[in-house]
């Protein structure tokens, strides 16, 4: 693993600031469209900040650089969050922010590989990412490459059989270069994940499937960073998963306190208000 690009990406900007910047960009994109999966984006911002500014190796000016760590957005509707992150990382130009979701944009509302630099796969048909990720991990291992493959999936995707097929196969083939990130925001389309289809005991499940599993507060940056470090440091050919318990709308209290739904409604005048509230919490 080369240290250069990752060290540069880390720079002197704090991870708190990165996460805040990601939240702000996501809100600005939501304002452009008047909609978007903003609750999810605000919830996952800390994990994405740690991923792109601490854990991953990549070259901003060459998103297809062969040596990069792969980051797969299985949960395609989280695209707004990844676009914000890719802009923050310099992979996507910030000028394009105002085109989010527009007809001629490179940032469609659901992530698509053919549209966006840095978007590895077309997710959105949920439950597909982990299988693709394990195939890429097998491919990288065959090539002798040291890169990791990260797959970001949602708690809803835990319901798909394909997720657990992939989990078994990855463990069987000893894919130590595979790191699965599960956003446990306790939300799905029809309601609370725990009320709909209980995944518990979740850590025990992953472990029983042969994975190294951690579960941390996904909005506690220190814990998130430590989990990424621990996942990369696991010795032996075992796939790794980190379950992040996150809070939808994190960082914008009046949205956090609203009755949370899969598609959080934000009134037209509330985008500005949300940006204002976020501003008050800007890291020092």
């Amino acid at each position: 693993m080369t240290e250069g690009p990752r060290a540069r990406a880390r720079s002197n900007v704090s991870l708190e600031q990165r996460a805040w910047n990601i939240r702000r960009k996501a809100l600005l994109m939501g304002e452009v469209q008047g909609q978007g999966y903003i609750g999810q984006a605000l919830g996952i911002a800390d994990v994405l900040a740690a991923a792109y500014f601490h854990a991953l190796d990549y070259r901003a000016d060459d998103p297809e650089w062969e040596g990069r760590d792969r980051f797969l957005l299985s949960v395609g509707h989280y695209a707004i969050a990844l676009y914000a992150t890719l802009m923050e990382a310099g992979i996507l130009p910030e000028e394009e922010l105002a085109t989010y979701g527009m007809d001629d944009s490179r940032m469609p509302m659901s992530g698509m590989a053919s549209y966006t630099p840095g978007m590895e796969i077309t997710g959105g048909s949920l439950g597909q990412g982990l299988g693709i990720a394990l195939g890429m991990a097998m491919g990288l291992r065959r090539k002798g490459a040291g890169a990791f493959v990260y797959n970001l999936m949602s708690d809803g995707e835990l319901g798909e059989g394909s997720t657990w097929e992939a989990a078994m196969v990855a463990a069987h083939h000893g894919l130590g270069n595979l790191i699965c990130l599960v956003d446990f925001n306790n939300q799905q389309a029809d309601g609370r994940s725990t009320a709909m289809l209980s995944a518990e005991p979740l850590e025990a499940k992953w472990r029983a499937f042969g994975w190294h599993c951690q579960r941390v507060d996904g909005n506690d940056l220190k814990a998130v960073v430590a989990a990424f470090d621990a996942a990369r440091a696991v010795a032996g050919p075992v796939p790794r998963v980190i379950v992040f318990d996150t809070r939808m709308c994190k960082g914008v209290p009046f949205l956090e306190q609203r009755e949370i739904a899969h598609f959080v409604r934000v009134e037209p005048e509330e985008w500005g208000k949300a940006l204002g509230v976020l501003e008050e919490g800007r890291p020092q």
């Binding site: 527009m102 007809d103 659901s110």
Partner: protein, 344 residues
Amino acid sequence: MTSASMARKYKARQVQVGQRSTTSAMIASLAAEGYDTVQAPFGHALVELARRDERVLGLTADLGKYTDLHVFAEAMPDRFYQMGMAEAVLMSAAAGLAREGFMPFATTYAVFAARRAYDFIAMAIAEENLPVRIVCALPGLTTGYGPSHQATEDLAIFRGLPNLTIVDPCDAVDIAQMVPAIAAHDGPVYCRLLRGRVPVVLTRHKPDYRFELGKAQLIREGRDVLVIATGLMTMRALDAAEALAKDGIDVAVLHVPTIKPLDRATITEEAGKAGRLVVTAENHTVVGGLGEAVATTLLTAGVTPAFRMIGLPDAFLEAGALPTLHDMYGISTDRVAARIRSWL
């Protein structure tokens, strides 16, 4: 990522019409100016059916709110099953319930039934000819979310499946009336669904219209062109016919809500009337849908009028605003009218 399919990688979208518009991916209703609408006709019709028939159950894979099944879930919580986001087991479980004498209505999006759950539908449900009703939102091009959500080939996939009846309703009238009709049918059914605020189209053009399973019905007479349409394209055809009438072009519209079994007799009879251009119109790829089914029917019957097809191209479609996409792919009212005009 070197294949030709990635050739368009990272290029800005090539939008043909007008200025930018935003993705109306989450719209609850299809833009249909001038029509009254009904809220969640499927959910309400299912509740009504379930009050009369205690075998009726509702199942979904995390899309109750998005398939209008929440109306049923709220009215009859003890007859509703949330399966989590697991389309394969949704279909297997529906098959199991049907085996035990129940009448499950299973809902998801059309893409996930057709693509992910297909084998389960084929073997657990269709091969056994079980009375499972699969009701799916977002048919064809009714979301701007791109290929992951656009069910452009569901009819082609399901037409190949023996035993399966396939319905593509046009409006709230069709949906409300198809629910008891498919319940009365002994065998598996796949229905495309329009959800949310659904326009009332057919009775406005033909006040005595009633949905009949397996029947094509002439909604509008016309001397110059016969449009054979299904699903929401019947609405487009009727609207285009009104526009074309102003230019003195007289367009008949034959509505074919049941795709399989196809009402060959009515289609052959109407298309056999001399002197009319025959145009099929479907919210689906031109491969394997209504157009090809009609073409086969006519050619087999020895009826060979001038024939054109309106449908989606054989391609993965773009993401974007629905009105933009409907214009781009030729299924908006304006484009339908323009194309018919160009063929005369």
